[in-house]
Structures are given as structure tokens and as C-alpha cells.
Amino acid sequence: MLDLIIRNGLVVDGTGLPAYRADVAVAGGRIRRIGQVNEPAHREINAEGLAVAPGFIDPHTHFDAQILWDAHAKPALAHGVTTIVPGNCSLSLAPLKAKHRNKLVGMFNQIEEMPLKAFEVGVQWNWESFEDYLARLAEDLAINVAPLVGHSLLRLWVMDDAATQRSATDAEVGAMQALLRRCLEAGAVGLSTSFVDVDERLRPVPSRFADFRELDALASVLSEFGRMLQVVPEFYDTDLNIARVDQLAELSLKHGIPTTFSPLFVSSDQRIDAERVMARVGEQFARGARVWPQVQTRPIDISFSFAVPSLLFIRLPSWYRVMRFGSHEEIVAAFRNPDSRRQMVAEAASMPDLWPGLRLRQAQSEANRPLVGKTLAEIAELRQSTPVESMIDLSLEEDLDAHFLSADMAHNDDARVGGLLAHPQVHVGASDGGAHILSFSTYGDTGYLFSRFVRETGALSLEGAVKKITSDTASIWGLGDRGLLQSGCAADIAIFDPTAIDRGEEYAARDVPGDGSRYVRDAKGIDTVIVGGEVAWSAADGYTDARRGALLPGAAS
């Protein structure tokens, strides 16, 4: 007796080969057969008119904390994602000594914009080692998790306060190697590091105090397991990004490991030239290196206020000083002072692309609340002012607690983004799922891949798009029997309508522990999501009680 048969669907098997009509039989958590199936099963799903594909794999997330209070990593699972990789960007939740917990939560708050309250209320810290963290995760998982170890955590564990002061001694490097080895033995999928992030005091994260010798030593441990090195490069500058590509290639060739960097953006900013970075990536692949750039599907939307450091205007000289070094009072003073204000307004006019789409997203005062949702151009018209002046006035009226949203800021050139997404040396990812929950919604990037780049622009075929986010990802990350619909593979399956799959509108959901909210998007066109052979979510019934999520790749044997 089979557990499940999916009948009459269009099998898009993850190889990139043409889709075909067949039944898919599942038993014991695995795919048993694909073809015409005549045996009985406990459950049948009619997939007439629907695509039956491997579950999607999201290689760049920060679900580390959320997965502790939400076994489904909502709403990722409902979008067809059956495997997530947390622990990116040098930050994971283990290995972590109790005394470093506050420090780590501060970094998650600063870098990934995750509320402190959510950690306070949602996380019961009952582990220190990576093994114990994995054991804790395994208690309640509806989605597969392939966790990275954060380099900053290795440094904190071994070096304490010195982690953010200096490079490591040989003995400390040796201790970090031993610790990383233990994590990989327990089942980590690789190591993550960052060259750009700053902590809660705006000081560089621990991983940035590592010299190349330390990174090389850690890569040699990855080599024992053939595991991944993920980095955040200086993505805002092409020369720097290329220098990092070269560094990664050196490590990849020397140690025989895969590496990936994220993000790689398309931008009209001359300092960011994705095509030049790709040319270098191509040269390094030609040498036999593996340096996978991660490219996200969605355009960049950014929310900001002047109450917290914002990078938006930092390239403008008169804004730079006050935004980088100014206290709250100094920013207010710079906005009030007619001279500095005049100069800031004049310089801001040099960002013409910004102003038409900029909206007031949030305001606290009764007077300004009716303006929420309007563009600054509309508000300027009401006030007989200009968009820039209105932004400054609103900020002053709200004591800097006015929030603005700039949609489609960059990475919105469909031809260039589509070209990258379809490129054989590009890894589709970088969703940042679970992070930045108050700035934008990171969910639905997979649906957007199909709606925009398969249906609208035709940059990828249905089969090509599925391959990009299933078997390519599994191969790049060494996830064994995932990412393909073939007899014997794990039964992680997404059933969807290829004419309708999409991301829904962004909205605020109040589902964060500690009474917090976040921006999310519902899935469109997804019918059923199966993890480990059991239905984990369906359009008809929502999230189920199935708990077949696995830790990948699993303990090293």
C-alpha cells in the first residue's frame, strides 16, 4: 500500500528537462515511482492542470529564531519552500555560550532587523553546543532545515571579547577549527561569514576581525566535509566584490569546497556592475573554482526613517556626516538649520529616481496619519512644497519617527535581472527570509520568479526556473537526495498552478512573539506542499500537523 499518489499532474522533475504527464507515487517518505500508478494509496491528490515539482530550496535565510517558535517557517512553506538554510551572514544561534546570548541577539536585531522582544518571548535558550541546538530543532520541524554555522559565533566562543578586537592567535585558530569540525560532524551544512556587517554598537561583527589565514584554516576544515562557505561581500562596490570573488576562488580551488556570496544586485549605480562581477565569476569557474553568486528575484524595496541609521542618502556629502555620525539631536538640528537644510535639499535633488515612488508608510501624530500611504509628491502638492522638503518636514513633525517606503529602488531592471537569473553560473537565492521583518517582506520570491520571469518576460522556462530553485540548489549545497522528483528521492514536493503561481500583496501580520508584527506575503497558485512524504500545507486546509521536516545534510558519518 502506497502512502500517497499524486495523479495526472505535469511532472517538472527538477532536471530542467521537458515536463511530462505522469502519476507520482510516495511511500515511506520517498518517491517510489513516477509513471502510471495502479496500486492503492492511503491518500490521492488530483493534480490535473497543475505542475508537480520538487519542493523549493531557499539557500539564504535567517529563520534561525523563528523556526524555534514556528515549525513551518511561515509563510515560506506555503510558498512551496520545503528546505531552508538559516545561519547566513556570520550569524547562527549556535554554538553559543550563555554569556554571549545578549550580544548575539543585539547583532540579529541590528543586522537582520529582528525585534529583541521576539527573542525574549519566543526563544527558550536551552542549548550551547551546535549538537544541542540541532537536537532542539529536531523536536518540532515541519520544514527541512540545513543550518550554517556563523563565523562570528565561532570567534565569540573561542575568543570572548577579543573576538571584536583583533586577529586570532594560532591556538585560537586551532580551537575554532576544532569547534567548526564538531558542528560539521553534528550536521552543519557549512560556514557563513561577513565582510560588511556591524553589530548593535555599529562596530564590525566578529568575523570581520579575522585575517585571511583564519578563514583559510576554517576552509580547510570545510574541505574535510566538502561543505559550503557563504560570505557577504562588499556588494556596493564592484572592485571590492571582484576581489572577494578572487579570494573565494582561491579557497575553493585550494580546499575543493563550494563557495557562495550574496547578494549580487543589478543597479543603475555605476559602482555596482553585476555584469563585470559575472565576467570574473566566469573566469574563476573556468579555472575550476566554485564561486556561486546569489541573485534575488524581487526588486529592492526599502523602508527608512531618520530615527535609525539609514544608508539611503549616505553618498551625498552633506547627508553623510550627519547620517553617519549625528545623534538624534544633531540630525534634527541639521534639518532645522536653514543653511545645512538648503544644502541637503539641493544634494537630494541629485537622486531623481527616488522621489516619484517614495511614500509615507507610518506616522505617529494624529495630524499626519491621514497622509500615510500617500506619495511624497502627493503630500508635497497638498503642502505646496517639494517631496524632499516634505520628507524633512514630516520627519521633524514626527521627531524623526516618520517612516518612508521606497519601492522598486534597484534590482528592478527586468531584462538584466532576468538575464542573471537564467545564467548557468548564478544561484537563485538571497531571499533573507525571516529577517528585516519591519522593512519589507522577504517571502514569495519563488512565486515572483515564475510570475515575472517565466510568464511575463520569458527569461526562463518553467522547467528552467524549477531547476534553478530545486536540483541546482541541492547540487550546489550537497543536499543529496533533495531537489529532484525521481524514484528513491525524498518526497519533498510542491504542487502549483503554473499559470497562477505568484506572491501576494505585502501586508502587516501580527504573529511575532511579544505582540510584534512583520510584513508578509501570502502565496498565490500553490495547491499543496509535501515534506518528507506528508502534506504540510494545502490551499484547502492550510498548515497541517505533519512534522516530517528533517535536518540536512544530517550528522556526518
Partner: protein, 82 residues
């Protein structure tokens, strides 16, 4: 096709990783030999605004903003080369 025999690609822009204790002066002395010390430091700083412009809070402190993981360019951007 991939081949490990192909020659190394030409560096896009020459850079170094800092050595232990490096500051602008020590890198300038090592990498820009022949250029007067002060001028060499100025050049290095102008080629490495990502480090030089780093605010005090976002640095290793003690007035030396160079981090062990930094990439330090030792020549100008391609567009500015003679």
C-alpha cells in the same frame, strides 16, 4: 570547459590583505616603495575610501580603521590609471 591548467586571470585591481598590526604607513612602506611616505599614505587612503571613510565607531578603534579581513587596494581604480 573547466580546466585547472588555464592561466590565472589577470587581477582586476591589485589588492592585499593586511598583515598583523598593519596601518596606512606600514602598508604604504611595503606596497608603494619609492613613493614619499606621506604621499603614499594619501594615495592608499584615496584608493580605499571603504576603509578610510569608515566612521570611528565602525572600526578597530585607536585611530586605525583597518580590519584584518579588509581588502586594501594598492593601485587606483582601472578608470583612473594612466
Amino acid at each position: 570547459m573547466a580546466s585547472t591548467n588555464s592561466t590565472d586571470p589577470i587581477p582586476a585591481r591589485r589588492s592585499i590583505s593586511p598583515q598583523d598590526g598593519d596601518d596606512w604607513a606600514s602598508i604604504a612602506a611595503r606596497e608603494l616603495r619609492g613613493t614619499p611616505a606621506e604621499e603614499a599614505v594619501n594615495l592608499l587612503q584615496s584608493w580605499n575610501l571603504h576603509v578610510f571613510m569608515r566612521p570611528a565607531a565602525d572600526s578597530a578603534g585607536q585611530g586605525n580603521p583597518i580590519l584584518p579581513s579588509d581588502i586594501i587596494f594598492v593601485e587606483p581604480p582601472p578608470a583612473e590609471r594612466p
